[in-house]
C-alpha cells in the first residue's frame, strides 16, 4: 500500500466520520431545520477554496524565486482543486437559496464573490493553456499571485454591494456546541480530502511532464 492510497483511505474515513457527525450527532438547527445541514460542507468547502488558492499563491511566489518546476506543478494542482471546491460551493449554494429564499440565484453576497473567484481561476487555466512553453510557468505564477490579491477585495466589495442575506455572524453565535463540533470535523475531513486530491493531481502533473520529456527525446532521435 502506497502512502497516497493511505491518505486516500484516511480521507474517505474522515468524510464518513464527518457525515456521521453532521447527520446523527449535530442537533437540528431551529429555523432552517434539516436543510441547515448543507451548511457544514458548503462552508467548509468555501474555506478549503481559500486554502487551495492560497497555496497556489504561495507556490507561485516560491516558483518566481526558486524557479523549480515542482512549485509550479503544486500551484497548478492546487488551483484546479480550488476550482473543484468552488464548484461545490456554487452548486450547493443555490440548493440552499432555493429552500431559504425560494429562488435559485439571488446575488447573495458570498455566492456572488465565489462566482467571480471561480471565473478568475477558470481564466487562469484558459490563459495557461494558451501560453507558450517557455513563458507558461512564470506567467501563470504572476497571475496566481494577482488573482489571490484580488480575493479579499472582491469579498469586501461584494459584501458592501449586497447587504447580508447570508446566515453570518448572529446565527453563528447561536450555534449549538454539537453543531460547532460537526462543522469542525467537516472542515477537517475536507482538508484531508484536499491534501489527498492535491497529491493525486500533483502526481498526474509529474507524469505528464515525464511523458513529454520522453516523447521529445524520441522525437530528437528520429
Amino acid at each position: 500500500m502506497t502512502r497516497v492510497q493511505l491518505i486516500g483511505i484516511l480521507a474517505t474515513l474522515c468524510l464518513f466520520m464527518a457525515l456521521y457527525f453532521v447527520f446523527s450527532y449535530a442537533k437540528v438547527e431551529a429555523t432552517m431545520l434539516e436543510v441547515q445541514k448543507i451548511f457544514y460542507f458548503h462552508v467548509s468547502s468555501a474555506f478549503t477554496v481559500f486554502i487551495a488558492f492560497g497555496v497556489t499563491c504561495l507556490f507561485s511566489i516560491l516558483y518566481l524565486i526558486k524557479r523549480k518546476d515542482r512549485y509550479d506543478m503544486i500551484a497548478v494542482a492546487s488551483a484546479e482543486l480550488g476550482i473543484v471546491f468552488c464548484t461545490i460551493v456554487l452548486l450547493t449554494g443555490p440548493i440552499w437559496a432555493r429552500y431559504a429564499w425560494n429562488t435559485w440565484w439571488n446575488w447573495e453576497a458570498r455566492l456572488t464573490s465565489t462566482l467571480i473567484l471561480w471565473l478568475m481561476y477558470i481564466a487562469y487555466f484558459i490563459l495557461r493553456s494558451a501560453l507558450a512553453e517557455e513563458t507558461k510557468r512564470v506567467y501563470s505564477a504572476v497571475l496566481g499571485i494577482i488573482a489571490y490579491l484580488n480575493v479579499p477585495i472582491v469579498y469586501f466589495s461584494v459584501e458592501i454591494w449586497q447587504g447580508n442575506l447570508h446566515p453570518s455572524t448572529d446565527t453563528k453565535m447561536n450555534l449549538h456546541p454539537t453543531m460547532v463540533k460537526a462543522w469542525m470535523i467537516s472542515w477537517l475531513a475536507l482538508s484531508v480530502l484536499y491534501v489527498f486530491l492535491l497529491v493525486l493531481r500533483y502526481q498526474t502533473e509529474r507524469l505528464k511532464s515525464q511523458l513529454e520529456t520522453i516523447q521529445y527525446q524520441q522525437m530528437e532521435k528520429t
Binding site: E133, E134, E212, T213, Y216, Q217
Partner: protein
Amino acid sequence: MILLQATQITKRFAHRMVLNGVDLDVQAGEVVAIFGPNGAGKTTLIKILSTLVKPTSGAFQIAGIDAIANPLRVRSSLGVVAHEPFAYLEWSPYENLKFFGRLYGVDALEERIADLLADVELTPFAHEPVRIFSRGMTQRFMIAKALIHDPTLLLFDEPFSGLDVAAKQFVLKLIQQERARGKGLILTTHDTELGYHAASRFLFLLDGQIEPVAEKAEIELTELSRQYEQRLKK
C-alpha cells in the same frame, strides 16, 4: 581585455536541449564568427548573450559584471542586431535613434545621430518611416540603432541574411570599422565565405555545442569551408 566570458551555458526549451555547455570568450578588437546550420542554436545563443533570454544554467560576464545576476547593468555595453529590428517601424530612423539614444542616456545625441546616419548612408531617408525600407536599408538602420550608445561588445545574428551583394559588402565594411575602433564582436552565420572575411576567429556551433576551429591567420577559406562541409555531413 576580455569583453565577454561565458562558461557552460545551457538552454533547455521545455524538454529540448538547445544549448549544451557552451564556452565562449571575446577579447576587445576581435571578431568571432560562429558558423552553424539552421536550428543549431545560434539565435538562442545570441539572445542569451544579449541578456534577453535567461540560460537554464551556466554563467557569463560582460566587462567583468555577472550578466545573469545584473542583466540591466550590462545592457548598456551591448549592441545587438537580431532578425527582428527591435524598433518601432512606424517611426523614422531619426525618431527611433532619438528615442533609444535618450533611453540609453547618450550625450550630444543630435550629432551622434547625424554621424551614425551618415555612416550607414541613410541621411536622405532620416525622416521616412522604417516600415517602407528595403531589407538592406532596414539592416543598415538596425546596425545604426545597435551602435547609438557606442557599445563595447556587438552581437550580430545573421547580419548578412537576405541582403544583396552590395549590402553585404557594406555590412562587412561596417564590421571592420567597428573592429578597428577596438570593439569586440560576435557574429553568427551559415555563410563561410562572408564569415571568413568578416571575422578574426572561427567557431562551429553544432548540436548545441561549440567547437573551436582556428584563428584567421592559421587557416585558408577553402580549408575552412571544407571542414565546415565535413562537420555538417557527420
